[in-house]
């Protein structure tokens, strides 16, 4: 053959570690500093909320960014996780050691059932059917009159942790959320780089080729959908604890749309991007809302511009700047 090398072939080089890690390290370091620099209750609560949204956006990135599955019902998982915690709470099951795993299982279970149906469809049909399942969850919550219906359901205090109320302290809660976010980030980073993640990404690149290689994309997509649902439900469990309140408004389709905006703005298929996007969107919303009650007139066009111009999102932009 023409170009058989004399020595045994060597593997291509991988980029240096700092190049891959500088951005996540920076983001998490900044987040860890927040309570020490801006200790006010309001800021702490705001950033905690942003980080919870970041967990949800992170989970959406697994299916949207790595699986090319445009799910428009992701807020349902947030709501399910939140409701699981609050409903258990109303039945005097207040310990996170029980409530959080239940929330995760509920999210995973809903993802398994709806995913098994949705993933049989493609393209716009998938977008619409996930939207419909999201609406189904929303309307179910509004009709749960035993649990507050439209008005939602209150918790008298945050979940206990093995009988203690350590989560009641806002700073402690902040670091629990930050830790969960970091844990989810590392977990998902491993998953997308694993053999499983490679099949998921491959099916996005070229489904026909993957079948011809012997992979059945459906099974991998369903597994990814279940993982995403479980993680988003965990975000929901934290969200219920943040305000000690749940309501159907947690799972409106507008919120699902916001999750998509967060992922795209930050940078799809990067994991760190959706975290930046979620924090950015939450802070911008808060800032605009402080300027005017009609903040959506400004936020809406921003979303349009993101959709039209934000190819690659903030992460690509930062990498380009840093690469210079």
């Amino acid at each position: 053959m023409a170009e058989t090398p004399a020595s045994p072939p060597s593997l291509p080089p991988t980029p240096p570690l700092w190049r891959r890690l500088w951005l996540p390290v920076l983001v998490f370091a900044l987040l860890a500093l927040v309570p020490f620099v801006w200790g006010e209750r309001f800021i702490l609560g705001l950033v905690t909320r942003a980080m919870i949204m970041a967990i949800a956006a992170l989970s959406l990135d697994l299916i949207l960014g790595y699986g090319a599955l445009v799910s428009f019902g992701h807020a349902a998982f947030l709501g399910l996780g939140a409701y699981a915690v609050a409903i258990l709470f109303s039945h005097d099951i207040v310990d996170a050691a029980i409530a959080f795993p239940v929330a995760i299982l509920v999210g995973a279970g809903f993802a398994f059932v709806t995913g098994a149906i949705s993933l049989k469809t493609r393209g716009v049909y998938f977008i619409m059917i996930t939207l419909a399942f999201g609406q189904m969850a929303f309307f179910t919550a509004t009709s749960l009159s035993a649990y507050g219906g439209d008005d939602g359901l209150r918790m008298f205090h945050r979940s206990e942790v093995f009988g203690t109320r350590i989560l009641a302290n806002d700073t402690t809660f902040y670091f629990v959320v930050l830790g969960t976010l970091a844990g989810c980030f590392v977990l998902l980073k491993m998953i997308v780089g694993s053999r499983f993640g490679r099949v998921l990404r491959g099916a996005k690149e070229n489904e026909r080729r993957m079948r011809a290689l012997g992979f059945d994309p459906f099974r991998y997509r369903l597994a990814a959908y279940v993982i995403a649902g479980a993680i988003c439900a965990l975000a929901g469990a934290l969200f219920a604890n943040l305000g000690m309140f749940v309501a159907p408004a947690y799972m409106t389709w507008q919120r699902s749309g916001e999750f998509i905006a967060m992922v795209v703005l930050g940078g799809m298929g990067t994991l760190i991007g959706p975290i930046i996007g979620a924090i950015g969107v939450t802070l911008v919303e808060e800032w605009l809302a402080a300027l005017t009650q009609h903040w959506k007139v400004i936020f809406g066009p921003m979303v349009v511009l993101v959709a039209i111009f934000a190819r690659g999102g903030i992460v690509k932009l930062l990498e380009r700047v840093a690469g210079k």
């Binding site: 049989k120 049909y125 419909a132 609406q135 749309g257 349009v304 039209i308």
Partner: protein, 307 residues
């Protein structure tokens, strides 16, 4: 469950179905011809209602008001097409979804600034107010019958346009194979614009017809938009016939189950209190279950236009 109530709710279901059809028709054509997901289609419906409210109040004449509202809805649709939509046709569905989602946020808030957050009322014109006796002891508002009638007429007109005219032929061809139509030398951009503007006007028409029945308020199009998506997914994207059947199906199932689910569950042997708890939940989920079931057995809807 009395037969009187059944008749009235069936008519209400038809009325919802007809409104849904008017919205879904534009949506499914835009979808089918341009492969474009327009989430902002629901705000066209809302805008139609607001425009009708404004022009009816200005002119003092309902019919002139509606006519002006239609013209403005068309003009606004064309404006939207030129300013935003045409930059999105060759983008991913994801980007289309996101951009039109941003438009919804903007327009829902925009109408609050222009017309205020409080709901507006539109009076029913005198000539069409009052009720009519449609069976023994069953009275039904004339205006609602007028909605059903005019919706059915539009459906017929639309069918004739799509089935018999040259533009209709291009639309059907476009829904099946847009590059082919383009290759035949048709100005596909202009066709897109016509279809989009026309679809916007139909949604606006639905909004102005609905204005006297429902209160005119920000976000009024959002839920109908989602129902309209359910309709076109059930009917098959790009198919007018599918949209029509799907719209009636969704309108009837949703309306009837909302009023009879509790009774039905009690007939099925549930206790009254259980039935009252579960009934509304089942009713509000019913059309989504219907859609999931249709997609499970026919992943491209009942009347797929492509393939």
């Amino acid at each position: 469950m009395s037969s009187t109530l059944l008749i009235i709710q069936t008519l209400n279901g038809l009325q919802l179905g007809v409104l849904l059809f008017l919205i879904a028709a534009g949506l499914t054509l835009v979808f089918g011809v341009m492969d474009f997901i327009n989430l902002a289609h629901g705000v066209q419906y809302m805008l139609g209602a607001y425009l009708a409210a404004m022009f009816v109040a200005w002119t003092g004449n309902f019919f002139i008001g509606i006519a002006l509202a239609l013209i403005c809805a068309l003009a606004f649709g064309l404006l939207l097409e030129v300013v935003v939509m045409r930059h999105l046709y060759d983008r991913d569905h994801l980007e289309q979804v996101l951009a039109t989602f941003g438009l919804i946020l903007f327009l829902n808030e925009g109408v609050k600034i222009v017309w205020g957050a409080a709901p507006l009322q539109v009076p029913i014109p005198d000539s069409l107010s009052g009720t009519i006796r449609i069976a023994d002891g069953v009275l039904y508002p004339v205006w609602r019958l007028a909605i059903i009638g005019s919706g059915l007429m539009v459906a017929l007109g639309l069918y004739l346009i799509v089935a018999k005219t040259r533009v209709g032929m291009l639309i059907r061809a476009g829904a099946t194979n847009a590059p082919m139509v383009s290759a035949l030398g048709v100005d596909i951009r202009r066709l897109f614009m016509i279809v989009f503007g026309f679809g916007a006007m139909l949604a606006g028409f639905a909004g102005s017809m609905a204005a006297p029945v429902f209160s005119v308020e920000p976000g009024m199009g959002d839920n109908l938009l989602i129902l309209a998506f359910v309709v076109i997914v059930i009917g098959g994207i790009g198919s007018i016939r599918g949209a029509f059947i799907g719209a009636l199906l969704v309108g009837l199932v949703d309306t009837l189950l909302r009023s009879f689910s509790v009774d039905l569950l009690r007939l099925a042997g549930l206790s009254p209190s259980d039935a009252r708890t579960i009934g509304p939940a089942i009713a509000s989920m019913s059309i989504y279950i219907l859609m999931a079931a249709v997609l499970f057995f026919r992943p491209t809807g009942l009347f797929p236009a492509k393939g």
